[in-house]
């Protein structure tokens, strides 16, 4: 992998991620529920996708040739919402409606409520198949767009995930990039203690994916992997992005207990201070 991102680009993406992470904390605190751990672990990947890699303005969600992101781990919704807000597509104040009655910001992403969402997901193992269908559709229509599927690692225990991966490999979908948020933890604990998925990169390779392994918080590596996947035209690619659950908030990092709960007021304040934006938390 070559050096793809200039220092300037990487600095700007880091700055975006620094804006996104506090929004995740604020919105989950205001909602009184949600999934901070997995939202913080995918933040840098989502940032790199939305602010650099994906072609097409996310606001222009009807353009047929736009690149598509399927958030198969639909519980990382806050990361996507916050990124869309920082991108200027969603009003920032709307973020505080997460999980509230009547909100477009459902607990798991919903394309019929929020049009920038390509696929409604939530029950795991289904988004990857939808991404395969979208990639097949693009190929049939001779469209050049790419499809990105962001998977969780707990999701790799689901049979459906492997069915869909098998189909993507079988159809040699070079317009499909599967990105695994390999934070190592699921709701109840470590994936390897509950139901081990390793050697995961070898499994992707066995399913005919051009597979890259990177640090999912290093923008240089992320951009290089995206570029390498784009250059590979002989089938689908996969990126195993090693990440830290709860990244950026010391007391959440590496703690499975932060998979699916909101911080208390004191915890939210501490988290925001650590993320470099000390101040009042929103009401809840």
């Amino acid at each position: 992998m070559g050096e793809e991102g200039s220092a300037e680009l990487i600095a700007s993406l880091q700055a975006r991620a620094r804006e996104i992470r506090p929004e995740i904390i604020r919105m989950i605190y205001a909602a009184g529920g949600g999934h901070p751990g997995g939202s913080l672990s995918v933040t840098d990947l989502v940032t790199a996708l939305l602010f650099h890699e994906m072609r097409g303005d996310p606001a222009d969600y009807r353009r047929p040739d736009r690149d598509r992101l399927v958030l198969s781990k639909g519980h990382a919704a806050p990361a996507l919402y916050a990124a869309l807000a920082v991108r200027g597509v969603l009003p920032r104040e709307e973020l505080l409606t997460l999980r509230k009655l009547g909100s477009r910001l459902q607990g798991h992403v919903d394309r019929n409520k929020l049009p920038f969402v390509e696929a409604s997901t939530g029950c795991l193992g289904q988004g990857i198949g939808m991404a395969v269908g979208m990639a097949l559709d693009a190929r049939l229509a001779h469209r050049a767009n790419r499809v990105y599927a962001l998977l969780g690692d707990g999701e790799c225990q689901a049979g459906l995930t492997w069915e869909a991966l098998m189909a993507g490999g079988h159809y040699r979908l070079s317009n499909l990039l599967v990105i695994l948020d390999r934070n190592g933890l699921e709701t109840d604990g470590a994936t390897e203690a509950i139901m081990g998925i390793e050697p995961i990169a070898d499994k992707f390779r066995a399913f005919r994916y051009h597979t890259l392994e990177i640090d999912g918080h290093d923008f240089g590596q992320i951009l290089a992997a995206f570029a390498e996947a784009r250059r590979f035209t002989d089938g689908p690619s996969a990126i195993v992005a090693r990440t830290v659950k709860g990244k950026g908030v010391s007391f959440m990092e590496g703690q499975h207990s932060w998979h699916g709960k909101a911080p208390s007021k004191a915890e939210a304040e501490k988290a925001l201070a650590e993320l470099g934006v000390p101040g009042e938390v929103p009401p809840r």
């Binding site: 919903d110 991404a131 459906l160």
Partner: protein
């Protein structure tokens, strides 16, 4: 014990109609899960290999892939046996197809006990209940080949998810194929009793109505192929005008069309309703038509239930 004469294959009717639809619409794609010979999607696959995806034995993922294809603006048909389409793939149908409101038409063959020899594992009698419980789902249960052709065209033309349940066995042609989504077809007029039927038992209902006519009883017969949306005006008119309803379905009486008819009438115009269908049990291997008799759907049972309702109405002693 054997199927009545002049029967036609619903599955062939489906496969042939798919080919016609594929000729008219270059964006239409078809998926199957290693049963294309049985579901007859093979006919489409032979004609349009580039638009046919046989994904193998991965029914839930067939539904998620179908959804992804549909969200690009295509009309997508996905076929397998009913036990896999509605049972194995239920949550993929729920989330990827219905919750996404994807334009996917699930045409499931081999519904009900008439699967025969494969036995209870493969004879799903819960699918109508599962599918009609899904918000936004259209549910159609054709009784013969002409209605299968019309229903296949109708769901293709209608935006949104649909489930069409077909029967493995050839069935007698009893309709003229003038099917419309949301409409019941009155195949026989009558004033003493109404038989509401879907699928394979519609022919049986017509036979019993014919027999009763010979002794001076007037039995209306409604083809209720459009299970969702269903024709509530026609149902309530039947309740008002004939005073009793007998429902026939090759499906569990707990969650099928009988349950639908009973709830719709009791809320709006209560009349006696009786349900002929599969009791709360799984099926077993056997001759398909013998299974219907064994599991409470014999012609004699239909006649007896009709007689009981006519007795309640004071039409017979």
């Amino acid at each position: 014990m054997s199927a009545p004469p002049k029967s036609e294959s619903l599955r062939d009717a489906y496969g042939q109609t798919l080919v016609e639809l594929g000729e008219a619409d270059p964006n239409l794609v078809v998926l199957d899960a290693d049963l294309s010979g049985s579901t007859r999607t093979v006919l489409f696959g032979q004609k349009f290999p580039d638009r046919f995806f046989n994904v193998g034995v991965m029914e839930p993922t067939m539904m998620t892939i179908a959804s992804g294809l549909a969200l690009g603006g295509r009309t997508v048909f996905a076929s397998t046996f009913a036990v896999f389409a509605a049972g194995q793939a239920y949550n993929a149908v729920r989330q990827s197809v219905c919750y996404n409101h994807a334009n996917v038409k699930i045409v499931a063959t081999h519904g009900g006990l008439l699967v025969g020899g494969d036995g209870g594992t493969h004879q799903i009698v819960e699918d109508i209940g599962l599918m009609r419980g899904l918000p936004g789902m259209t549910v159609i249960v054709p009784a013969d080949a002409p209605t299968t052709r019309a229903a296949t065209r109708a769901v293709a033309a209608r935006e949104g998810p649909a489930y069409v349940r077909l029967t493995r066995e050839n069935l007698p042609v009893v309709t003229d194929g003038a099917f419309e989504v949301g409409k019941a077809a009155e195949l026989r007029s009558g004033s003493d009793l109404t038989i509401v039927a879907v699928g394979a038992l519609l022919a049986r209902g017509l036979e019993v109505a014919e027999d009763l006519a010979k002794v001076g009883l007037s039995v209306r017969v409604l083809d209720f192929a459009s299970v969702k949306p269903f024709d509530e005006p026609a149902l309530l008119r039947a309740a008002r005008e004939t005073g009793a309803i007998l429902v026939l379905e090759e499906h569990s009486v707990l969650t099928g069309v009988g349950a639908l008819v009973a709830s719709a009438t009791s809320e709006n115009y209560p009349v006696p309703v009786r349900r002929v269908g599969v009791p709360d049990v799984f099926g077993e291997s056997g001759d398909p038509w013998a299974l219907l008799d064994r599991y409470g759907m014999s012609k004699e049972r239909v006649r007896n239930e009709a007689w009981e309702l006519l007795r309640l109405r004071g039409k017979v002693q």
